[in-house]
Amino acid sequence: MAKDLKMDAPAETPYSEGGMDYLLTRQRKFVTVYLPLAAFTFILLFPFYWMTITTFKSNDDIYDYERNSPFWVWNPTLHNIKKLLFETSYPEWLWNTLLVSVTSTFISLFASVLAAYAVERLRFKGSRWVGLSIFGAYLVPPSILFIPLATMVYKLGLFDSRWALILTYPTFLIPFCTWLLMGYFKSIPFELEECALIDGATRMQILLKIVLPLAVPGLISAGIFAFTLSWNEFIYALTFVSSSENKTIPVGVLTELVDGDVYHWGSLMAGALFGSLPVAVLYSFFVEYYVAGMTGAIKE
C-alpha cells in the first residue's frame, strides 16, 4: 500500500540489497545473519510475550512455575481483563488518553503546517533563524520543563484537568511536526507554486490546494507520530493530573493498579497490554509512515 507513495525525500534511492549475497554460503549466512537476528528478535519481543501470557494466566499459574511450564497459558482466564475493564477506571483512562492525544495532535498539526510552510516556502525575514529555534525547541526535554509548567498550570486553574495536558503536549509535538513537515515541503518543486502564483493564486490557496495534497504522506506521518508521542507521554500526565477520572492510561495503570506492597501482576500486565494495544494496532497499519517519520526527522 505505502510502496507507491514516495515516502522519502529525493536523495533516497534504496539500492537493491544483498548485491553480493552470492559470496555467502548458506551455512555461513545462517550463522552470521539468521542466528544473531533470532537472538535480537527473541530479546526485543520477549517482554511483550511475557506481558501477554501473564495477562491470560490464572493467579495459581502466575506464581507457580514448577507445576506447568511458565511459557504457555495452560488454564487461560479472562479474569484479569475483566477486572481491568470493570473494576478499575480503565475505560475512563482510555477515553482521556484518546481525547487528549487526538486534540493535541490536531492543534499541533494545524500550527505546524502553517509554521513549516512559512519557514520553508515564504522565506520571510529571519525564517532561517526561526527554523533553527524550532529545532532547538525540539531539544528541550520535558523533564526540565515540568516543574515550572506545573506552577503555571496551577495558576491558570487548569490543574487536574485534561486541558492541562492538551495545552502542554504541543510543546513537544509542534517542534517535531514542524521539523518533519519542513522536510516534506522542501521536496515539493518550487515550479508548481510559481505556476500557481502566475495564475493568480494566493499563498493560502497554494498551501491548501497544491502543497497540502502533495504532502499527505508527511501529514499522516506527523499525525500518527504526534498521536503516539501524546499517548506515551508520562511525566506531564503524572504531575498535572491527580484524580483518577482524569488520568491517562500510562499514569492510571501505574498509580492505580499498584496498591500498597501487593502487586497484582495479572491485572498490572493486563493494564500494560491493553494500554499498548491501541498504539500497536495503529502502528501495524502505518508502519511505513512511522519509519518515514522517524528517519525523516533524523535526516534533516
Binding site: 530479546i43 526485543l44 511483550f48 519557514v119 515550572p148 509542534i174 499563498r203 500510562p250 498490572l268 502502528y283
Partner: protein
C-alpha cells in the same frame, strides 16, 4: 474603484512574505512562547527562589545550588546520570548498528522483521517498564528462573534490591528500549550506500571488516552523529523507566537527575530545589548538543557541502 484597490491591497497582503510569514507563524509561536520559552525562564527563576508547593517564594540567589553542591544525594544522581547515559548509549550504539547491519542483508520477511523489531520503541515506555518490573521481581523473576534451570546460577537474583544490580537492571531496560530506534535510523542510512562501492572493494581484495571500516563507517558517520545525539539527550533526561522500575531506590542508588528533581519538587514539595536540579542538567545537554553540532559541521565541510 475602491473595490479594485481593496482587492489590490488584499493581493499585496496575500503575497507579502514577511507579513504572511508572521501570521502563519502565529499559532505555533504563541504556543511555544507561552508553554516552552516562558517556563524555561520561569524554571531558571524558580531555582533562584525558595518556592514550595502552596507558598510563593522570594529570591534567595544561588542558595539552592550551594546546598545542592554539598548534597551527596545530588552528586550521586549526577554520577548515576552520567554513568547511565554513557553505558546505555555505548551499548545502544553497538547493538543498534549490529542489528542495522543484519537487517540490511538480503533476508526473508525483511519488512516484517523491521516492523516487529521497532515495537519496543512504539509501545508506551511506562507500560513496557512495568513488564520489566515484573520480570525483575525478586521471587518470580522469569529471568532468574531460566538461569537457574540452565544451571548458570543457584539462587534467584535480587535484581532491584541491591544498588549495583538495580543499576544494571535499569540500564538493560533502557538499552532494550533504545536499540530499535538506533537500528532503524541507521538502517535508513545504510540503504543509501551504493553496493557498487562494496563490489569494487571486494574486487580489490578488501575483507568484510575493511569494507565496513573504510566504506560503511565513514559514509554513515553523519547519521550516527545525529542519532547518537538524540539518544544521549533522551537517555540523559530519562524519567519514566527509573520512576516505574525503582523509583530511584534502593537508597537512591538509581536516582537520575530527572527523577531526583521530581522526587524533591512534587512529592517533597520543594519546587525551587527541584527546579534547580533540573536546571543543573542544562549545561550537560548543551555540551552534548555542541559536540555533535561541531562534529557534524566538520563532516559537512569535508564532504564539500556549502550549507
Amino acid at each position: 474603484m475602491s473595490k479594485s484597490s481593496s482587492l489590490k491591497l488584499l493581493t499585496r497582503f496575500n503575497n507579502n512574505a514577511d507579513l504572511l510569514g508572521l501570521i502563519f507563524m502565529l499559532p505555533a509561536a504563541s504556543i511555544l512562547l507561552v508553554f516552552l520559552t516562558y517556563p524555561l525562564g520561569l524554571g531558571l527563576w524558580l531555582g533562584l527562589t525558595d518556592t514550595k508547593i502552596g507558598r510563593p517564594g522570594v529570591f534567595i540567589g544561588l542558595a539552592n545550588y550551594e546546598s545542592l553542591f554539598h548534597d551527596s544525594v545530588f552528586w550521586l544522581s549526577v554520577y548515576n546520570t552520567i554513568g547511565y547515559t554513557a553505558v546505555a548509549s555505548v551499548f545502544k550504539f553497538i547493538l543498534g548498528l549490529l542489528l542495522a547491519l543484519l537487517l540490511n542483508q538480503n533476508i526473508a520477511l525483511k519488512s516484517f522483521m523491521r516492523a516487529i523489531l521497532l515495537l519496543p520503541w512504539i509501545v508506551p515506555t511506562t507500560l513496557s517498564a512495568i513488564a520489566f518490573w515484573w520480570m525483575y521481581d525478586s521471587q518470580f523473576s522469569i529471568i532468574s528462573w531460566i538461569l537457574i534451570k540452565a544451571g548458570i546460577i543457584d539462587s534467584y537474583i535480587d535484581f532491584l534490591g541491591n544498588g549495583w544490580n538495580a543499576r544494571f537492571s535499569v540500564v538493560a531496560a533502557n538499552i532494550w528500549r533504545g536499540i530499535p530506534f538506533v537500528a532503524i535510523s541507521l538502517l535508513a542510512g545504510l540503504q543509501t550506500i551504493s553496493p557498487a562501492l562494496y563490489e569494487a572493494a571486494t574486487i580489490d581484495g578488501a575483507t568484510r571488516w575493511q569494507s565496513f571500516r573504510h566504506i560503511t563507517y565513514p559514509l554513515l558517520t553523519p547519521i550516527i552523529a545525529i542519532v547518537m545525539t538524540f539518544s544521549v539527550l533522551f537517555t540523559f533526561t530519562d524519567f519514566q523507566l527509573i520512576y516505574v522500575i525503582t523509583r530511584g531506590g534502593p537508597v537512591n542508588a538509581t536516582h537520575l537527575m530527572a527523577t531526583l528533581s521530581f522526587q524533591r519538587a512534587i512529592p517533597g514539595g520543594q519546587l525551587a530545589e527541584g527546579a534547580a536540579i533540573a536546571m543543573a542538567m542544562v549545561p550537560f545537554l548543551v555540551a552534548a548538543i555542541l559536540i555533535s553540532f561541531f562534529g557534524l559541521q566538520r563532516r559537512a565541510w569535508q564532504q564539500g557541502s556549502k550549507d
